[in-house]
């Protein structure tokens, strides 16, 4: 990294090169962000095979749409992660829709295959990871709203119904929770910088 260039500027430069068809830039961008995206997608879907498909879809989209990246709208990391999150939630919703009508034998066969002794990598990450500790430092009511929206793909009214709280409360908790989370993540980053 050239001196004085932030990680974000470096990533934005890679996106600009990708827009010109630079495969080396794509490879480096993938190496920098695939882990975070895959962790998120796995946490949402809890199905490694589906998560791999979605990850591929997300990076394929990134490659095709690199020219549309606008640094004024957000950092490269946010650009990618928000995309990964929406694709994962889309997939989750389509799985849920299908589950209502789905061919039962296939589901049963796939379910039987799950070895209870083998830890689910998504869950394992959740248990040991900083997500848990960062989220874990939030008041449970705020944490729940963030989890239901971000990892489970529920809308504001669905969250309000699930929690039996008024919509206004859900909105306030979402804001307070994210603001506090921002402070926590900043503090955790300090020792490293």
């Amino acid at each position: 990294m050239p001196p004085g260039r932030t990680q974000s500027e470096e990533a934005a430069a890679l996106i600009a090169r990708m827009a010109q068809g630079d495969r080396e830039a794509f490879s480096r961008f993938y190496d920098a962000f695939a882990g975070a995206a895959f962790g998120l997608i796995q946490r949402v879907l809890r199905d490694p095979a589906a998560a791999e498909d979605v990850l591929q879809e997300v990076f394929w989209q990134v490659w095709r749409e690199a020219a549309q990246y606008d640094s004024r709208r957000g950092s490269p990391a946010a650009w990618l992660i928000m995309r990964a999150k929406s694709r994962a939630i889309d997939r989750l919703r389509s799985i849920r829709r299908r589950e209502k009508t789905f061919v039962a034998p296939v589901d049963e066969a796939l379910a039987r295959r799950d070895d209870p002794a083998a830890p689910n990598p998504g869950v394992a990450a959740e248990e040991r990871g900083l997500v848990q500790t960062a989220l874990g430092q939030l008041p449970p009511a705020q944490r729940r709203v963030i989890e239901l929206a971000f990892f489970d793909g529920l809308t504001q009214t669905e969250i309000a119904a699930r929690l039996g709280e008024p919509l206004g409360t859900v909105k306030t908790r979402a804001r307070l929770g994210l603001e506090r989370l921002r402070g926590i993540l900043k503090d955790e980053r300090l020792p490293a910088t």
Partner: protein, 261 residues
């Protein structure tokens, strides 16, 4: 809208839970370039990106390899067979054309030398080489069809996992509603005498449609090129069962592989 209200909508927007009238109002603010709304979304999205960056999970190397292959295929659009690079084995046969032309020329000279009698050995050789080149051209066309399938953004890629009879088996299905698809399977046991593997495509609540039968080699790998299936568009499930040789119109045997799109 006051600042707190905008920040609340921004939080739910970043989390993906904003809907209805709230969403419309907030998106109008963003489109209008409202600095409070833009700054709040940016901040919250960065926070969420920071949250995910804290728990990375290494994806399997196959994902990156598949992406690079797809990009590679995209960057090299299908051209005339004569300029598409071939894999090694076929590449060595690139020497074929000079041999064909050399053979034809020699045959011509022989014809001149001995009147209208062409040496039968040359004739046989030219025929054999012609057949070989037709075969190579067929192989090339099949490979180009596979590359076209992989590089098409509307191709579905579905991972199939091994089930109880073959837990270590794995497969990947590339499926395109109009072009058909390709199954690549590994880790399957050799089917017993008189049995074969059969691939099924299931769309929504419809009955499974046979996508063909296939066997496996000594290493347990097999592949199947599937033509477009009448009446089948987007497929939700691909499954492989063990069936009597020749396959059946509906699945009857044990399921070895299955995957949902």
């Amino acid at each position: 809208m006051n600042r707190d209200e905008i920040t609340e909508l921004a939080a739910l927007y970043a989390l993906g839970g904003l809907e209805g009238e709230d969403r419309a109002r907030f998106e109008a603010l963003l489109e209008g370039g409202d600095p409070t709304a833009l700054a709040a979304v940016r901040q919250f999205e960065d926070t969420l990106a920071g949250l995910t960056a804290a728990t990375p999970e290494a994806p399997p190397a196959s994902v990156k390899a598949a992406l690079l292959a797809r990009i590679e295929a995209e960057g090299r659009p299908a051209r005339r067979a004569s300029v598409t690079p071939l894999p090694d084995r076929a590449g060595r046969r690139g020497m074929l054309w000079p041999v064909v032309w050399g053979g034809a020329l020699a045959a011509g000279i022989a014809a001149l030398a001995v009147g209208l009698t062409v040496g039968s050995s040359y004739e046989k050789r030219v025929t054999a080489l012609g057949q070989e080149s037709a075969m190579l051209r067929g192989e090339l066309e099949r490979q180009q069809a596979v590359i076209a399938l992989i590089r098409d953004p509307s191709t579905q890629v579905v991972s199939l996992a091994g089930l109880k009879p073959a837990p270590v088996a794995k497969a990947r299905m590339f499926w395109h509603a109009r072009a058909g698809g390709l199954l690549i399977a590994a880790g399957l046991p050799a089917p017993p005498e008189g049995k074969t593997y059969q691939l099924w495509a299931i769309a929504g609540k419809q009955a499974p449609v046979s996508a063909g039968v296939f066997g496996v080699d000594a290493k347990g790998t097999g592949s199947l090129r599937v033509p477009p299936l009448p009446g089948v568009g987007t497929v939700d499930v691909f499954a492989v069962t063990l069936e009597p040789a020749g396959g059946l119109p509906a699945p009857s045997g044990a399921m070895y592989l299955a995957g949902k799109s």
